[in-house]
């Protein structure tokens, strides 16, 4: 019964929190750029408007893929709230990521095709890091189940600081922030129009936006677990992390996938390995 309630909380929290975070993100970004920025609720208005638009697609596969993307993202967050197996959550999240790519490849559009290929490169970059973070959790708590985290009396950050930094790479990629926003971007001014999302429109774009919110909350939730002992510190950790993300987004240029692969695999994985060696040595 408890699990059911947690699942429902997760299913609701995803879009609500995700939308709010997106709204605040835009305000803070505007503040950095000396602008006023939209109201905090703007992302919700945007998605509501998208749902009111006419349904138009290049082919039916896109509808299928958009729906599966949002469903998989929602299930992975629900599993996260139900404190399920960390690796399982990660794999379910991958279902959504794969379907987003496949949907983009279904359209005969050069923009979404190139976007899909780049999205795959992003998956290639962040997946090993996420797996290593999962293994780090296992090494510290002795279990892949999230429930085991609560039995620790020290914040996990103390034992896996480098894994947290590496997770920052995955977070930046997942949030589609510069310098890693080359498959698609929150801003419609890149060389690929809207990259992997180019051919999605109307309600289906709305679904993808919601799926993106779910994923944002999932990765931020993973970050939050690094300071599970105290709610205030947890909030502070998240705020600092997100502020850094926005700062990086605003100060970095968009780079290429080669740069990303080398950077994430060498630096990100390097940090993971060093941190895991500490954990294995204990």
């Amino acid at each position: 019964m408890d699990i059911l309630i947690l699942v429902i909380i997760g299913l609701l929290a995803g879009p609500l929190l995700g939308g709010l975070i997106a709204g605040m993100d835009r305000r803070v970004t505007a503040w950095f750029q000396s602008r006023q920025g939209p109201p905090i609720m703007q992302p919700f208005y945007d998605v509501a408007k998208l749902f009111g638009k006419e349904k138009m697609v290049v082919n039916q596969w896109q509808i299928l893929c958009a729906w599966v993307y949002v469903i998989a993202a929602a299930i992975s967050l629900a599993l996260f709230f139900a404190q399920s197996d960390l690796l399982l959550i990660f794999f379910v999240q991958a279902v959504g990521a794969v379907f987003l790519v496949m949907g983009a490849m279904a359209a005969k559009s050069p923009y979404s095709q190139v976007g899909a290929q780049r999205e795959l490169m992003q998956i290639l970059a962040y997946e090993p890091v996420l797996v290593m973070v999962c293994v780090g959790f296992y090494m510290v708590t002795g279990s892949f189940s999230l429930g085991a985290v609560w039995q620790q009396d020290m914040p996990l950050l103390a034992k896996m600081p480098l894994l947290y930094l590496a997770l920052g790479y995955a977070l930046t990629i997942k949030l589609r922030k510069s310098p890693f926003d080359f498959s698609t971007s929150h801003h419609g001014h890149q060389e690929l129009v809207k990259g992997v999302l180019t051919e999605y429109s109307g309600p289906y774009l709305g679904l993808i936006e919601i799926a993106h919110w779910y994923e944002t909350v999932l990765v931020l939730g993973l970050c939050a677990l690094f300071w599970h002992t105290n709610v205030i510190w947890m909030a502070l950790l998240l705020i600092v992390t997100y502020m850094l993300e926005i700062l990086v987004d605003n100060t970095m240029a968009r780079m290429t996938w080669r740069w990303m692969l080398k950077r994430v695999w060498l630096v990100g994985m390097g940090m993971c390995v060093v941190n895991l060696i500490w954990l294995y040595a204990r």
Binding site: M56, V58, A72, A94, V193
Partner: protein, 632 residues
């Protein structure tokens, strides 16, 4: 019991002889289908009777069956030597003569010929028999219409199908014999039969390249055979018995015996085409598709991993075990990396097979109940999904005349059924809640306990795997014109495709029960408990059935909103210009249509096959030396 065993091992051989000598196409087809059905029924019957203790086979026509196997052994070595001389391959000649010499020494001088029960059926054997008999038979049935088309395409004057089906069926019998052997000499004999069958089948088309590749397969596997003989002798020096059950029950017994087992593992490596032996399996794709499907999914390569799993209790907790795990993990990541650079569909399948076998071998090396469960799960589900994908590629190749995934782009437009089945097959390879991914999940959870090298390699390999599958699956999807003609498929093509596709999905859902009834009895302390359709271990849980229900309902709903009656308006894609009438083209310079074209990123500068293969080979040889040397 013994009747069933007879059916499983000898009946395919008899059916093979019928196929070879009765040169009527109708009789052949009937024989193949009947043999397939009988094999499936017999394997299920064997499962129904459950595991059995080692049993003796006794004598045939007054000749002891052990003696018969010995005679056949030398006859087979003679035949292989003949082909070695015929194809002027020094390597084959050397390896075969060395095997024969050592075998004579072993049989005449070393072995005291005590009666050893020849066959045994534990859980592992029973599962392997099921995989071989059911999937192998489906592939044989698929081969019937395929070979007709294939020979039509080649304009052969005289059909070579009798020979083809002879070896195909013989192969299945030999595989069943291999997995049921309890006498190590019997196991060696069947091991050699599979080597020889694969050699003939790879070279079936008798083109220059086919012959070349089949010779390569033969010398590499002869090296494996030689390693097997050496390993057998070393192990015998210490244990003094040919009885595999007894060897396993005793566990690791010092350096000499473990080194012997190490050589047997090396034999398994060659058969499972682990790096640096991957080239024979890559070369094997010149054979007709059913052969590739058989080699890659249910037979040959599975014989390799079976040998490693069979002897797993004999090297548990030794350095050899860690070495095996590292070698396997290395092949897993290296072949996944090589796969990224490929656009040839069959080559992608080949590298992915080797990569997955690496994962299975890594699990065998990790050698905990959790890891061994992962290995068996991977064997079962990989066999189903991979055979399905091979048959799909074969069907696509006969339809479009190419096996390049760039040519398969937009396949759904013309061949919706084949494309959809292929997409499902691909998804069952990489996504939860399907069985292969579940096996990978178990492997990762088991690997997290071992050492960091294995963890890093598993993490990288897993990410690389997703990339090469996802882009293939995505590129098959496309628009389909309304009222386009339906796809035509022969019944005997459609049947195996549908059965395997449904099987891959349904059996994945039944995984908790498969685990409970077939895998859990393998261990004293079972790694998982099953509740509410979830597999729960001490360190994690995989909610198989709940996930199936949630994702299944989700996908059904998604499919209904996509393909249901309330249709969204179909629009041409955005092309930064005026769209022309043709889908995906726009009006370009001089009012001419600019056609759509796309290509995957193969990351040539990072994952070039030619550049990486030598490096990987050297690294892998180093790891194998490390593995064997460490066992001493």
């Amino acid at each position: 019991m013994s009747n069933l065993l007879l059916l499983l091992i000898l009946m395919p051989a008899v059916a093979a002889l019928v196929c070879y000598f009765v040169r009527s196409s109708a009789v052949r087809k009937l024989t193949v289908v009947a043999a397939g059905v009988i094999l499936m029924a017999a394997s299920l019957g064997l499962l129904g009777q459950g595991a059995f203790e080692p049993i003796a086979v006794g004598s045939v026509l007054g000749i002891s069956s052990d003696f018969l196997v010995t005679v056949l052994d030398f006859a087979l070595l003679g035949v292989i030597l003949f082909y070695g001389i015929k194809h002027k391959s020094v390597l084959i000649q050397v390896f075969t003569l060395a095997q024969a010499a050592l075998l004579v020494w072993f049989e005449v001088v070393m072995v005291e010929h005590a009666a050893v029960p020849a066959l045994v059926g534990d859980q592992l054997s029973l599962i392997m028999v099921l995989v071989i008999s059911i999937i192998g038979s489906l592939i044989c049935i698929f081969a019937i219409p395929y070979m007709d088309k294939h020979e039509e395409h080649l304009h052969l004057k005289k059909s070579r199908q009798p020979q083809f089906f002879f070896y195909l069926l013989l192969f299945l019998g030999a595989m069943n014999g291999l997995v049921l052997s309890n006498n190590i000499l019997w196991m060696y004999f069947f091991f050699e039969v599979t080597t020889f069958c694969s050699f003939v089948l790879i070279g079936h088309d008798a083109t220059e390249i086919a012959t070349k590749n089949s010779v390569r397969a033969l010398w590499m596997n002869s090296l494996g055979g030689l390693a097997f003989v050496i390993g057998m002798m070393l192990a015998y020096m210490k244990t003094g018995t040919l009885d595999i059950s007894a060897i396993l029950a005793a566990g690791p017994q010092g350096a000499l015996m473990v080194t012997g087992i190490g050589f047997i593992c090396l034999a398994g490596f060659t058969k499972a085409a682990q790096i640096p032996f991957q080239s024979w399996l890559l070369g094997a794709m010149v054979a007709p598709t059913p052969v590739s499907a058989l080699l890659h999914s249910s037979t040959m390569v599975k014989a390799g991993v079976f040998v490693l799993l069979r002897f797993a209790p004999a090297y548990v907790g030794t350095f050899l075990s860690t070495g095996v795990a590292i070698c396997g993990a290395f092949t897993f990541v290296a072949c996944a990396a090589l796969c990224i650079g490929q656009s040839n569909g069959k080559k992608i399948l080949a590298y992915s097979t080797i990569s997955n076998l690496g994962l299975i071998i890594c699990c065998a090396g990790i050698n905990t109940p959790l890891a061994l469960t992962a290995a068996v799960m991977l064997i079962i589900f990989h066999a189903i999904s991979k055979s399905l994908l091979f048959l799909c590629v074969g069907t696509i190749e006969q339809a479009i005349g190419s096996r390049d995934i760039e040519d398969m782009r937009g396949l759904y437009a013309k061949f919706p059924r084949t494309a959809t089945i292929t997409i499902i097959g691909i998804l069952t390879m990489i996504l939860p809640p399907f069985g292969v991914l579940m096996g990978k999940w178990m492997a990762m959870e088991a690997g997290a306990d071992t050492n960091i090298i294995i963890v890093v390699m598993l993490a990288m390999g897993s990410a690389l795997t997703v990339v090469y599958w996802a882009r293939w699956g995505g590129s098959l999807m496309s628009s389909r014109k309304e009222g386009a003609p339906a796809e035509q498929q022969a019944v005997l093509t459609r049947l195996p495709l549908t059965v395997l596709c449904v099987g891959a999905v349904v059996l994945s859902c039944a995984a908790p029960w498969i685990y409970n009834s077939m895998l859990a009895p393998m261990f004293k302390v079972a790694p998982f408990t099953v509740s509410f359709g979830s597999l729960n271990s001490a360190t994690g849980s995989f909610a198989v059935v709940p996930l199936f229900i949630a994702l299944g309902l989700g996908v059904l709903f998604a499919a209904k909103s996509a393909f249901g009656f309330r249709k969204a308006r179909i629009m041409p894609p955005y092309l930064s210009g005026a769209n022309s009438t043709e889908d995906g083209t726009y009006v370009g310079p001089m009012n001419g249509d600019v056609p759509f074209s796309a290509g995957n990123m193969y990351l040539g500068e990072l994952f070039a096959e030619g550049k990486l293969t030598p490096i990987f080979n050297v690294l892998a040889i180093g790891l194998i030396v490390l593995m064997l040397g460490g066992a001493l």
